[in-house]
Amino acid sequence: MLFLTQLRFELLKLFARKRTYIGFAAFLVMEMMMLFLLNLPRTKMHMRHLIEQNGYGFDEYYSGTTLAMIILFRTSTLLGSLYLALVAGDLIAKEIEDGTMRMLLCRPVSRIRVTLLKYLACVVYTFALIFFIGVTALLAGLAFRGYGGLFISPEEGGVFSLIAPARGICLYLCAIPMLSLSMVTISSLGFLFSCCNMKPAAATTVTLSVIFLDLIFHAIPYFESIRPYFITTHLSTWMHIFETYIPWSHMMEDYSYLVGLDITCLILGSAIFLQRDLK
């Protein structure tokens, strides 16, 4: 019971800061920009070609769901990583830098409990941010293009799909928690570096460096054979939900890898934090 009260206060601390909302605000602006650009005649022409060459009607499949899907896929990994790393990098490092961690640890509370509470708060933030992006992108997309089928081009994570309107929205909504779970790995990396003896900005930078480096390696064709070892490979597993035959076992494998990485970051971060002198 006390654990829940403490978690509530951790969330209060997190969501009472203006900095926490930078990601939300940035995504709103970016969604509007993306929708505007996706509605430019030249852009639409490209999409029309992609849809119609497969024998489907452009107006039917260039819908709000399709636009939301493009936004979600294109922005979550890069921009999402940025804002998640920003918040996760602050978790422990900022409290140590500000001195509030010392105040907190005057109390009879274990460091492991503190790290666990902060980690859980960060997981909640990750889900909140991705849900926000997903839902606002869908609402904005529907407002721009209206209800219709979901078209996923192979450019989006290698999946090609044309899905009926109702099923499209349903799958899109199912994809949001899956993407959130994937993105927890980025938050976990941020958390790990936040526990190390470095400034919050450094923790954020190191987290982003790791993710971007992984992205770069993942994109290099010569590394095809070692792709299963890159985080990015597993991060995009949520896209499989849009396949005609969903490869559940493959997805489970990917999520096991990601959750394993999350747990490793949590344990390693806690162990580092446990050894540190707070002065």
Binding site: L2, T5, Q6, F9, L12, K13, A16, R17, K18, D98, G99, T100, R102, M103, L104, L105, C106, R107, P108, V109, S110, V114, Q275, D277, L278, K279
Partner: protein
């Protein structure tokens, strides 16, 4: 109540504290003095389990902080030199957050402590608009929740105005007298330490160079400032008395047991006019500066 057993800490190659042993009984106000970097904050950190000692151990109520930190810190409150808060939240929410890490407290108990530290009218304001004095009060309030029997105060009056220092002093004395709290206090304000502490320990470059009542630092001799005319005649007479010693600036040191009235009588009988004879009261500041100014002069605590 608090016992430090040969507590040592080294940061990298730099020794911060060397074999500090202390015993602070229940209900005492104990002062920890020393220059910046003497090891005071490190000592506080190790008592609270925030700094891992290189050797030795800290005990609170005979419970090892290093082995059973959670049990040892039950009933312990602390504030630091620059108390930090979540500035974007109100003082009240800050108190709720910090106390939630000990246990859930009723609002009435929180408000009682807020009233005790005199922060009631502004407790719902964001901490970012608080003055330094208000932040110190809030820090004290969080240290007093929920009703500790030991409080560690690291520079509690740091940055306060004279009125604030006065109030803080009285709050500490009230806590000790009314609630029977054991207080471990570190401060640069030696006059404050002098007025509130029962005993002190002086740290110099990580080593304890004195421990005891601060008045013990004075030693047995009593000093006077003497003005006599003619001075040479007075000085010659003083030189013949073994219990007396003259120091520069006409400072007369009188051994314990010698009656100063005998000297005055002797001087008057020898035709010396005694114009002034004032006892010199040494305060803690002078004694402290004498002590840390001579680092080689290590005082054996057992002899103090």
């Amino acid at each position: 109540m608090i016992r430090l057993d040969r507590l040592s800490k080294t940061f990298g190659a730099r020794p911060a504290l060397h074999e500090l042993s202390l015993d602070i009984p229940q209900g005492q106000i104990f002062g920890l003095l020393g220059h910046n970097g003497a090891g005071k904050s490190t000592t506080f950190g190790m008592i609270l389990g925030q700094v891992h000692p290189t050797a030795g151990a800290a005990y609170i109520r005979d419970i090892s902080v290093q082995q059973h930190r959670l049990r040892a810190l039950q009933g312990v409150g602390a504030i630091f030199e620059t108390p930090a808060f979540y500035d974007y939240l109100s003082g009240w929410t800050n108190l709720r957050i910090f106390t939630a890490y000990t246990r859930k407290l009723p609002d009435a108990e929180l408000m009682e402590t807020v009233r005790f530290v005199g922060l009631e009218p502004r407790i719902h304001d964001p901490v970012r608009v608080y003055s330094h004095g208000m932040r110190q009060r809030l820090a004290l309030a969080q240290a007093l929740l929920p009703r500790p029997d030991i409080v560690l105060l690291d520079e509690p009056a740091e940055g306060l105005d004279p009125e604030g220092i006065h109030e803080m002093r009285h709050l500490i004395l009230r806590l000790n007298r009314e609630r029977g709290m054991t207080v471990l206090l570190s401060s640069h304000l030696l006059s404050e330490v002098e007025q509130v502490c029962d005993r002190i320990a002086v740290l110099n470059q990580g080593r304890m160079i004195f421990e005891g009542k601060w008045t013990d630092l004075k030693g047995d001799a009593i000093r006077y400032h003497l003005e006599a005319d003619p001075w040479e005649k007075a000085a010659a007479l003083i030189a013949t008395v073994p219990a007396l010693a003259l120091a520069p600036e006409r400072i007369l040191t009188v051994a314990q047991g010698y009656d100063i009235a005998d000297l005055v009588t002797a001087l008057v009988q020898a035709g010396v006019k005694v114009r002034a004879l004032e006892p010199i009261k040494q305060n803690l500041e002078e004694l402290y500066l004498n002590l840390v100014g001579a680092p080689d002069r290590t005082i054996d605590p057992s002899k103090s």
